[in-house]
Subunit: 419 residues, 2 copies
């Protein structure tokens, strides 16, 4: 993959210019895009900024996020030739940081479940996951050092796991979703994909204007000694497949060898209850968020989304209110539950990327954390016997994005040493 921090170090050292860093990405894209199909639009004449923490960094932006002057296609013919007048907040923020929105990346229609044409960069017969398919695949294929996606169920962490990218879904609204097409306002969360956890931390600090999120010296801590990690199997979400079980096992062994203390934990009942109501909240809100698309263009919605919205029309307000109360209660209990650990370690996806392109895989190990609004990081590093990557997931309490990145960096580092 293409490391953002490596690129910046080369620019700082004067080995390359910010502009040639962009050109380098365009060359990589020209070489690899035909085999991945990660992009819907490309600005081949993009100019690099002269300064800013992300100068020279080419960024892929999921195609439900507005970039002024570029089309926002939403993965749907309903938005054909829909050129954005303004930048989304995240786009303006990345420009402020000196970054360059070089390309729009594929999204499933309205960030739901109908697959894109993107292929997994590690095996084209497998899905890259969704809904942020293009962003995950572009980074996983080493075409871009940074890409932006969104997660409503598991649309950042799952494709990152499948494509072998590091990714963070930060605390709810740490990155604003203004100018991002809404599916569910209580759930939609922006996330970042990069080559490594230190890259993520650097980028999130820059985009969020939160310098404290950077890792000391922009690298993983030398030791994991003293870290208290809760190992959570998420039984309420069903069992993992062998690949994810093996990845979790490898991560535990690696981080224990580096000095961390890993303790199996059980989530309080209220978290399982919240897991079960995620769909009610998502359904109720999507009916309203996509009311115009449904009423005016039902015939142009793809099959999975169309049928899901058909069914969701009947979710009553009372069920939604009750689901929100359940989630609210779980957020409070999650807070005290997590207080005993620096982070929770769990599965990032049920397994490695499923074969076939008809499905984008399952979000069952991600949904709860989206609903809780807490930080989640996909830590890459493990691969199955066939060479397909599969990640593990680090979760912390709300607002502890710093801790999530630190622990994730430790595990990434520990895995690299042992694999």
């Amino acid at each position: 993959m293409l490391s953002l921090l490596d690129l910046l170090r080369r620019i700082d050292a004067g080995h390359i210019s910010a502009q040639s860093a962009l050109s380098h990405c365009l060359d990589l894209i020209e070489a690899r895009e035909y085999a991945v199909r990660a992009f819907t639009h490309m600005d081949t004449h993009a100019a690099a900024a002269a300064q800013g923490p992300l100068r020279g960094i080419a960024i892929g932006v999921k195609d439900i996020i507005d970039v002024a002057g570029m089309p926002t296609g939403m993965g749907s013919p309903i938005y054909r030739d829909n050129v954005a007048r303004a930048d989304a907040s995240i786009t303006a923020m990345l420009r402020r940081a000196g970054g360059t929105p070089l390309a729009k990346t594929t999204t499933t229609a309205f960030a739901f479940l109908d697959p894109t044409e993107t292929l997994n960069p590690h095996n084209p017969a497998h899905t890259p996951g969704g809904s942020s398919a293009g962003s995950a695949a572009a980074v996983g294929a080493g075409m871009l050092p940074l890409a932006i996606g969104t997660q409503t169920g598991g649309s950042v962490i799952r494709p990152a796991s499948y494509c072998g990218a590091a990714a963070i879904k930060p605390s709810f609204r740490l990155l604003p979703t203004v100018g991002v097409k809404c599916y569910s306002w209580a759930l939609d969360t922006l996330g970042l994909f990069a080559a490594s956890v230190p890259d993520l931390a650097y980028a999130l600090a820059a985009l969020g204007e939160r310098p404290d999120l950077r890792l000391p010296d922009d690298r993983a801590p030398d030791s994991a000694a003293g870290l208290r990690i809760g190992l959570l199997m998420q039984d309420f979400a069903g069992p993992p497949e062998d690949d994810s079980a093996a990845a979790l096992d490898a991560a535990v062994k690696a981080i224990e060898a580096d000095g961390a203390q890993v303790t199996p934990v059980s989530a309080p009942e209220s978290l399982a209850a919240a897991y079960n109501v995620h769909g009610i909240i998502q359904d109720y809100e999507s009916v309203r968020a996509l009311a115009w698309e449904y009423d005016a263009h039902r015939d142009q919605l793809p099959p999975i989304l169309g049928e899901t919205l058909d069914a969701a029309q009947h979710v009553p307000a009372g069920a939604y209110d009750e689901a929100r109360r359940t989630a609210h209660q779980a957020r409070r209990e999650a807070k005290s539950f997590m207080r005993g650990y620096d982070a929770l370690l769990t599965f990032a996806s049920p397994g490695s990327a499923p074969e076939g392109l008809a499905s984008t895989g399952e979000s069952r190990f991600n949904r709860l954390w989206t609903l809780m609004g807490v930080p989640a990081v996909n830590v890459p590093g493990f691969r199955n016997a066939a060479g397909l990557p599969v990640g593990v997931q680090i979760v912390t309490g709300f607002g502890r994005d710093d801790k999530a990145l630190q622990v994730a960096a430790c595990i990434e580092n520990a895995l690299q040493k042992r694999l």
Copy 2:
């Protein structure tokens, strides 16, 4: 004013058609708009729906809310000729209910404080308030039976008080803000203006698909006996002017005469603390929500907004996080504090509409309730010696929109009997 329920009764009885109800509004607009200047765009060929709870109801939509095919001007030259491709959620929902988005109503630029060209319908030398100036004035002038606005500080309740309209700012996100220009994602709340509280209750039930919000028989309860009302002066927000003090006094006397029990109450300290951090949250978020407008078009921002955003660029993330924690704590304490009362009664605005058009007035009696996310209703009825209206405000706990409407209807009814 023009009562929505009256119009619907006449349509139901076959006295007028839904289409002629729309035409009636167009006639009223033609007669009065020159003196009020409430609209930015009008669909003079609008067709009424044949059915739905809001059939025949012409609705004004604040010009930061998308209506497909109509320009969304945001009160700013930056968005000249910006025709909306899709409906905002609230627009699609009102169409589902059979309502007709007849016109776009004036908004201060990006719903902040720089005045519009709209005049107070009760005295053109006075402000109609803001930011939902056109929506409040259109209803207050009797040109429309229903209009939609938004509130980030006091942009629904304040102009309603100044223009003599009934209005509700419902619980946070009861009405989705998808497709509404964002100023502050934690604060922006859609609200409704209508001729009376029963009209509001009917419209909110229809738009929110929450039939329980309708008042029994669509009218105020016969008696206020048994109602426990907390009388809150909001000392932390400074003193009221004479007009608002008189309006509150009249409301207390009227509702006590109808059998309610009114008790002076003091808010817990945490509410005053939350009042003081509203601005920090608003500032920090507006910097990001309007990042593109600021970076690309600073010279086209009006003076108050431009200078506010200049200063707001320096609010640090730590101050924002701390403000959110303060607000979170206050929401919890507000919940138990309010549990002892059916509703709180307080000022809707510092006084009646100030003379002059250079200011839209102050939101100091509204801000806290926006930040708390709780329902707030402006109850019209009182007028000062010069004939200018000034409302009183009813506030309840989160999700108790039903109770807010019931109590507000009682007070409206009690005031009507006595004034």
